[in-house]
């Protein structure tokens, strides 16, 4: 049980860090915060997110 819990935590962390869970957060917020507005599909959302990133590459250090 403890091992499974640990693995669950690790999986949660990896999904959060990699941005894989960004869509889930978006859907949850869109449903609660802006009812009535259309919710993007995963494909639309990921494209939108990737294009946003193209406008701000962020610094990468040495």
């Amino acid at each position: 049980m403890r091992a499974r819990q640990l693995a669950g935590r690790l999986w949660w962390y990896l999904r959060e860090v990699s941005g894989e869970s960004a869509y889930d957060h978006y859907v949850a917020r869109a449903r609660h915060g802006r009812p009535g507005e259309p919710v993007m599909t995963r494909r639309e959302f990921e494209r939108h997110r990737a294009d946003e990133r193209g406008h701000d590459p962020g610094s990468r250090c040495c």
Binding site: E16, Y26, R42, R43, G54, P57, C61, C62
Partner: protein, 725 residues
């Protein structure tokens, strides 16, 4: 608080015992490092000294700065909470943000500098990495993060302009752009030196391009957003590419992938240009996932490896080169050049760009700056310690045969063996060849740049407990691949950042340029950036005096210059906001950094020693050239001309950097004097107070109090669930 005595009881016995034990363990490890002379000690002492010092600094000094000096206030809403827009402003779990921040600050820098600085012995490097990070580097990162967070995530350049003045702002902008160019050139030079005439390495790295393209396509079209799955596939393909490199090495294709340094420069510049104009989802994003996972994985494995393998240090504690300044890897004596050579891992100005800009817009609570700013930098420092270990467990003879410039060593194992003997160390031609054969490289002579040395040390550690000698070559190329992979990611991302800066600045002169989607402008500015670093890269590759030897000090000076700008901004804000009594927290590291950088620039510009001073070097070679003479290590008149041109450019840059620092510091001093005289302080550009509604712990693990608070708002006890907004 009417019962003050019970407050004292909160410092319970268990805590006192634990911290006493940490202090004793650290003291013993430092004692062993300091007192061991003439005997070889285990690398574990170094690691223990580092970890105990970090723990104490984080627990006490970082907490003191956060609470007393900065006055973090968890009742105050952060910009992420106030301006939340789901794009750049977004409250992010502290542990997730630590991951992002660390991935953004840590790259190849902490793996290169300590390897080069090992020529001074392991002790100076270790002391600077540990004390430097505790009192300067981590402080700079945390303080910059804090002040940027209090200003809605403004960039360092904007803060310099608002808090100091337009002069400081322009100097900061110029510093950022020039350091970016030098950084990219030096990092690309590391890759060139690691891949030149190595078909195995070149093939493996070339394969990362189709792998990244495939991953990008997969995430865009086949399975949108499935990052973990895609990265898993990518890492598997990457390992296959490393293994396949070994097959290529043995096959008739080996010649195709055996490239000269000049050819590699061409490919890198072409790659940099194409990668920076393609949409990010094609190359940059998938590369970023791959390199981040590889980076964190390898560093974790290495930390475990050092404990299991417990390698013994072969390097001396302090070498003669530290005293006489005649080292072959880089010229100059211990002060100031150890502090210039090791920038990343001890004090890195570049971090202030990440700490102002991206990260401050995502922090949930003010108190989290300690974990993310200070803690993130401590992890990078630990990476630097491991690089120092990897270089110091190698036989010194082998270390110098790999790291002295080609002009000194000559091309063969015999000439290298003689040259190493002249330096006062020994390695036979047979041993040198055997070392190359063990990792299936043609030669290890003059493989400068740090990456091959680090890779060799790492393969030593890994093969001692994973696979033995049969996997030595695999681990070597694994390490080369891992380093080259994220250097190329930096080259790609850095070119983009440089391009954005150029578009932004030139957009003031010619409007269409500021439109980031206007293709001709995009191509022109990208080309300008790649050609700028490409020029320094080519100059480094063809420099008869050795490119790393000449360029790395410039990179260090530029990086420390940026640190001086960040620390100056921080000190100015502390004084302006009436905290003169705490100004030493950033003021002392600033004074140290300015002393180091200005001394180094002074020596690089004015020193009469031709090995050290760029202009002395220029004069000597120019005079000889006028008389038609050729001076070693140049082989002909063309190479003489190259030396003259390079030393002129490099000397001018060193002088330029020094002038920039002086301008920023003087301009800030003017503002500080005005603030001190005005008695009640000057107004700063801090955003007004808004009350926070978010509940979140400060550290990785919530304390008992934080757990209760979280339960009160119905969030998961460990803070895993995001609290309701």
């Amino acid at each position: 608080m009417t019962v003050p005595n019970t407050l004292g009881a909160r410092l319970n016995l268990k805590t006192v015992l634990i911290w006493s034990a940490v202090a004793v363990a650290g003291a013993v490890a430092w004692g062993v490092l300091a007192l061991a002379r003439g005997e070889n000690i285990s690398a574990i002492w170094l690691v223990v000294a580092a970890l105990c010092s970090y723990a104490i600094a984080y627990r006490f000094y970082a907490r003191f700065i956060a609470r007393k000096v900065l006055g973090v206030d968890d009742k105050r809403a952060t910009p992420a909470e106030r301006l939340d827009n789901d794009v750049d402003y977004q409250p992010t779990d502290r542990r997730v943000l630590l991951g992002h921040h660390f991935a953004a600050i840590a790259g190849a820098g902490p793996l290169v500098g300590p390897v080069l600085a090992a020529q001074m012995g392991y002790l100076p490097g270790t002391m600077w990495i540990i004390f430097g990070v505790i009192f300067a580097g981590a402080v700079q990162d945390m303080v910059t993060l804090f002040f940027s967070m209090r200003r809605d995530g403004k960039s360092l350049g904007q803060m310099a302009r608002e808090e100091i003045g337009p002069f400081g702002g322009v100097a900061a902008l110029l510093a950022v752009f020039s350091i970016m160019i030098i950084l990219l050139a030096v990092l690309a030079l590391v890759v060139v030196n690691a891949l030149a005439r190595s078909p195995w390495g070149t093939f493996s790295i070339a394969m990362t391009i189709p792998i990244a393209l495939f991953m990008g396509f997969y995430m865009r079209v086949i399975r949108p957003g499935r990052v973990m799955e895609t990265t898993g596939i990518g890492v598997a393909l990457l390992l296959l590419a490393i293994v396949a490199g070994g097959w290529i090495d043995q096959s008739s294709l080996a010649d195709t992938f055996t490239l000269s340094p000049e050819a590699l420069v061409f490919w890198l510049v072409a790659y940099g240009f194409v990668a920076s104009v393609l949409p990010v989802w094609m190359l940059l994003a998938p590369r970023d996932y791959l390199s981040t996972f590889m980076k964190v994985g390898v560093i974790a494995l290495l930390a475990v490896g050092v404990f299991i393998a417990a390698p013994v240090m072969q390097n001396e504690a302090i070498t003669d080169f530290a005293r006489n300044g005649n080292g072959p890897v880089f010229a100059g004596s211990l002060f100031p050049f150890v502090f210039i050579t090791i920038a990343c891992g001890a004090l890195s100005g570049f971090h202030s760009l990440v700490a102002s800009g991206t990260t401050p817009k995502m922090i949930q609570k003010e108190s989290q700056i300690r974990l993310i700013g200070y803690g993130g930098m401590l992890i990078e420092s630990f990476v630097a310690i491991m690089a120092l270990v990897a270089a110091s467990i190698l036989d010194p003879g082998l270390y110098y045969a790999m790291n002295a410039p080609a002009g000194v060593l000559g091309a063969t194992v015999e000439s290298a063996s003689t040259a190493v003997a002249n330096l006062g160390f020994s390695i036979s031609p047979g041993e040198l060849q055997a070392a190359a054969n063990a990792v299936e490289e043609q030669t290890l002579v003059a493989r400068t740049g740090g990456a091959p040395t680090f890779a060799l040390g790492m393969s030593d550690i890994f093969s001692s407990f994973l696979g033995g000698d049969s996997l030595r070559a695999f681990w070597y190329h694994f390490a080369i691949m891992f380093e080259a992979l994220f250097i190329l990611t930096t080259v790609d991302a850095g070119t983009r950042v440089g391009r954005f800066m150029l578009q932004d600045t030139l957009g003031n002169l010619y409007k269409p340029l500021s439109n980031v989607s206007w293709k001709p402008g995009l191509w022109a500015t990208s080309a300008a950036v790649v050609l700028s670093w490409g020029y320094f890269l080519y100059a480094g590759v063809t420099d008869p005096l050795g490119g790393i030897n000449q360029l790395f000090p410039l990179f260090g000076i530029a990086n420390q210059l940026l640190a001086a700008v960040a620390l100056t901004v921080a000190t100015t804000i502390l004084i302006k906001s009436g905290r003169l009594k705490w100004a030493w927290v950033t003021g002392i590291p600033l004074a140290w950094d300015a002393a180091v950088t200005l001394t180094a620039s002074w020596q690089k510009v004015f020193s009469g020693d031709v090995k050290l001073g760029f202009f002395a070097q220029r004069e000597r070679y120019a005079d000889a050239l006028d008389q038609g003479k050729v001076l070693a290590p140049a082989k002909n008149l063309d190479q003489m001309q190259t030396v003259v041109t390079n030393s002129t450019v490099q000397g001018t840059l060193a002088a330029f950097f020094a002038v920039m620092i002086i301008i920023v510091i003087l301009d800030a001093a003017r503002v500080c004097v005005r603030a001190i005289r005005s008695r009640e302080g000057l107004s700063t550009a801090e955003a007004p107070f808004v009350e926070s509604k978010i509940v979140a712990p400060a550290g990785i693990f919530p304390t008992a109090d934080e757990r209760r608070e979280l339960a009160g708002v119905g969030a998961g006890g460990d803070g895993t669930e995001a609290p309701p907004r």
